[in-house]
């Protein structure tokens, strides 16, 4: 399928992990969407950036640690880009070195432009 024929869809992860199921079910959707040969990107903004924080240990919560899944989204599940909003990181005192996987850090204005290019945005 040519790049022009692909539909651009962006997951917008806005909520911190574990307090709700949004992060987990967003990942389940990302992993499924990968199989359909579209142009799928994932953006972390607001409290969503906490999902990428390194060194999470969920054993006492009895929940799965999904920060371990992000590093393979691009290679194994055909996700095109993982973006993190620069301002959201800064507002929470985080830097790129705090993150569990390689990402593209973009500022709010650039993110706005990227969102405009999308056919659909899926907020979680």
């Amino acid at each position: 399928m040519s790049e022009q024929e692909k539909t651009k869809v962006m997951f917008v992860c806005r909520t911190a992990p574990y307090g709700t199921i949004y992060e987990q079910e967003a990942i389940e959707a990302m992993v499924m969407f990968g199989a359909y040969e579209q142009d799928i990107s994932v953006t972390f903004t607001g409290d969503g950036v906490f999902s990428l924080k390194k060194g999470q240990d969920t054993s006492l919560l009895g929940k799965k640690n999904f920060s371990m899944t992000y590093p393979i989204l691009i290679d194994d599940f055909e996700i095109s880009h993982i973006y993190v909003e620069k301002e959201s990181l800064e507002e929470r005192g985080l830097t790129e070195s705090d993150l569990a996987t390689e990402v593209e850090i973009i500022d709010r204005n650039t993110l706005k432009q990227k969102m405009k290019e999308m056919k659909a945005l899926l907020p979680f």
Partner: protein, 116 residues
Amino acid sequence: MKFGILIKEGPYMHQAMDTAYNFILAAMESGHEITGVFFYNDGVYNRCATLEPPRDERNIMKLLTELELKGVRLIVCVAAGKRRGIVNQTVCKVEEISGLGQLLELCITSDRTITF
């Protein structure tokens, strides 16, 4: 315009389903097309067949079934449903249960995908 609808919240606790319902009606009245309504996260509870609110309250399940009779396609995510007990025996209509691929399909075939 073609609108795809994603519902992430369950009935009554959140306004999401009510707002979506009003949006869908208004869109259809204005001549727009609804490509489908996909229920994800707690949204799947909106299609629980045993909902029985007091008679003097709006019955969200019935409102949705009316939409379906008007030709709106309702799709309940199988994985989110299983996790919450919305399965063949408890869903309003077994045919509505389908996979996440249907959500992507809505994104592809709709001019706008709106999340509630």
